[in-house]
Each structure stands twice: as structure tokens, then as C-alpha cells.
Symmetry: C2
Subunit: 204 residues, 2 copies
Amino acid sequence: MTDATPDITRERILNQALVQFAGVGFEGVSMRQVAAAVGVTVAALYYHFPDKEQLYLATVAYGFNRRLPPLMAALEHFSDPWDRLSAFITEFTAVLAADADFQRIMQWVLLDTDDERTKTLTQSLFAPFFDEITGLMQKLNPGKEVHWLAVSIIGLAVFPFETRFARRLLSGYRSPRQYPDELASHILSLLRGSLMHHSSSSRP
Amino acid sequence: MTDATPDITRERILNQALVQFAGVGFEGVSMRQVAAAVGVTVAALYYHFPDKEQLYLATVAYGFNRRLPPLMAALEHFSDPWDRLSAFITEFTAVLAADADFQRIMQWVLLDTDDERTKTLTQSLFAPFFDEITGLMQKLNPGKEVHWLAVSIIGLAVFPFETRFARRLLSGYRSPRQYPDELASHILSLLRGSLMHHSSSSRP
DNA sequence: GTCTATACCATGATAGAC
DNA sequence: GTCTATCATGGTATAGAC
């Protein structure tokens, strides 16, 4: 691209759209609301995006690409599989705690049953992320049910955030946003007992 | 109630509404669509329910009360805490696998941030369920982070279903609906390593 | 208890001026 | 690149006949 346009408005739109879509989902947000939040008219939105669907897809990609690539990059520093898993849990819970919009937009994507949208978003955004964890499981627990293991580990990190709003009203509530490290330690201690059997790691 | 009216239409409405709300959520469903699915007019819906919000609340309660009480009742047969946990995992995954509407309506409720709705639904439907699991953790692992443990266990069962639609497109996919027992064994073997340390159970 | 008919409003989207 | 103005559609909800 020889174009050096800052596309400042486009970014402002994406920022506001992310907050709104993360909050109430695709159907819950109107183009008027997004426009009002940005401080432009609806027509301006349609200049930057062909329709609501494309705005949504661009918004989800925007929200994911701000968080997932840096997260995966941080794992590169660790070569030992257990250290890598440990770093993943710590970093992932920290990201989920720090960016509620990222956490919630992911939740909306998972509930979506539109084939087209799911295909696009899953393959471009989830796949590399998930494959990394699956590969890690392969090293830690060769030959075992690596798929279920990967799902379990991601779920252990994500589910406490997904249920955060409802759990406020339940007995013994602990906030994963206030105590992300407490959550990370809990998950790691849970996994230690089960994953260390075949591990080649030197961790106690 | 001296009234013996079968309320047959009301039940038919709830059945259809459950399918629709479970599929695309509160905002995604129109009263017109529900009416069409039931085979009545919109006005008939408003005879049985004051507005869309109340129809939704009644629908969620309907979907939950069909599944959760029987599930909890089945646990009564086991007195040993580990046996009880084991039964819970097995039964819960079986219910989630058999009733996709129940599984998905739960997911929608968790994403909802309406204070009024969340308060009502969480306290009446989730609380007894969650307290049972927390109490179980108290017995299995006295003094430990029982809240995080309960969340982890429920998440291990629920998350594979929540991600089912997206995971179809990922490498090594296993369907929790096709293999609920495989999932249950996986979860139990994961937990065995971590929870048996202080257990008073006689299980190997 | 269910219908027809309709009020009223918000939505996604577009045309054309500037 | 952003605006004003407008359109067609579909949303929730109600009144009143049967």
C-alpha cells in the first residue's frame, strides 16, 4: 500500500463498536448507537464499512488481534513445555482480566451459530491460538487426548470470566478480575497433579 | 390452585420459545417468529405473557427446571463425596449432550448483563445448583479454595459444549455430544490427580 | 382464548448535497 | 469524508370483534 492515510475515523469506529458489541452482541447494537458513540452520523459508518455485518467482523478481528498475537509471542521465551503452559495460563488470565471487551466479544463469537461468520472468525482467529495449546499438550502428554486437554485448559481460564457477572450473587464469590493471579495459581495447581506424570520438566 | 386448566397453549409457547431463545438469544427472536412457530398470532402470545421480557424469563425457568432438579436428585443416591462428584460429572455432561437448548440458554443467561434479569435467574436457578457443588468441594477438599474449585469443575463440563460449534473447524475435534462419556472420563481423570490427596474415598 | 387490524417506533440502508 | 433527508421493513404492543 502506498497509501499513508491514518484512517483515524475507522479506528475510532472500531474502538466504539468493540465496546458496544462486547456489551450486548450483534443484534443488541444498532448502527445509530455506534454512530452516536463515535460522534458521527450513520452515513459516515456506511462510508467506512459496507454493512453492519462487515463492521462486526472487522470489530471482532480488531479486538482479537490486539490481544492474541502479543500473548502468543510472550510464550516464545519459554522452551520447557511446562514453563510454557504456566506462562500461558498466567498471561491469558491477565489479558482476560485486563480487557473485558476482549473476553466478552470472544463469548459472543462462541454463541454465534451463523455458519459464515463462525467459519471466518474461527479459522483466522481461533485456529492458530488453539493449535499452539494443542501442540503444547502433545509435548506434555504425548499420545493422550490432547484435544480435550487443550479445551479443558482454555476453559479453566475462560469460564471464571464468563460466569463472573452471574457469580457475583453466589456464595463465596471471588472476582477473577480482582485476583487474576489467584485464579492462575489455582488452575496451575489443579493441572500440576494431572499433567506432571509424563512430564519431562524439572519443576517440583 | 383450584384451577385445573391444562394451559396447553402456554406450554406449547414455552417449548417453541425455548428453541428460539436458545438459538439466537433474547434480541435475536421476535414475537412474530415465536407466534409463527407455535402456530398462533402475536396477540395470543400477549394473552399468556404480559411482554417479551416475561416470556423470556418464563422460558429460561422452564428450560432449567426441566433439567436441573432431576440432575440434583440423582446425586442423592451417593453419599461418598467422590462418588457424588463422579455422578455429577457424568450426569451433567449427559444432560448437556442430550439437551442442546438447555445448554445454550444457560450460555445466553451468562452473557446477559441486565441486572434485573440476572438477579432473578441467578438466585432462583443457579444458586441451589452451585451451592451443591461448593458443598461437595468443601467435603472433598476442606479449607481449600472451594469457590474456584466449583467454578473449575462446572467449567470443565460446560466449556466443551460452549465451544462445540467453533471447534468443529479446529484440528483434532471431538464432539461432546457424540462422546459425552469420553468427555466425562477425561474430566474425572483430570480431577482425580488433584482432588484425591485429601479425599476420604475408597476409590483407587 | 384466539383472532384481525392497526398504531407507533426503531432499524438497516441509500441518495445526493456539500 | 461527512452531512441531511428519506425509505422500506419489521419490531413490540394494544383494541376490540368473535
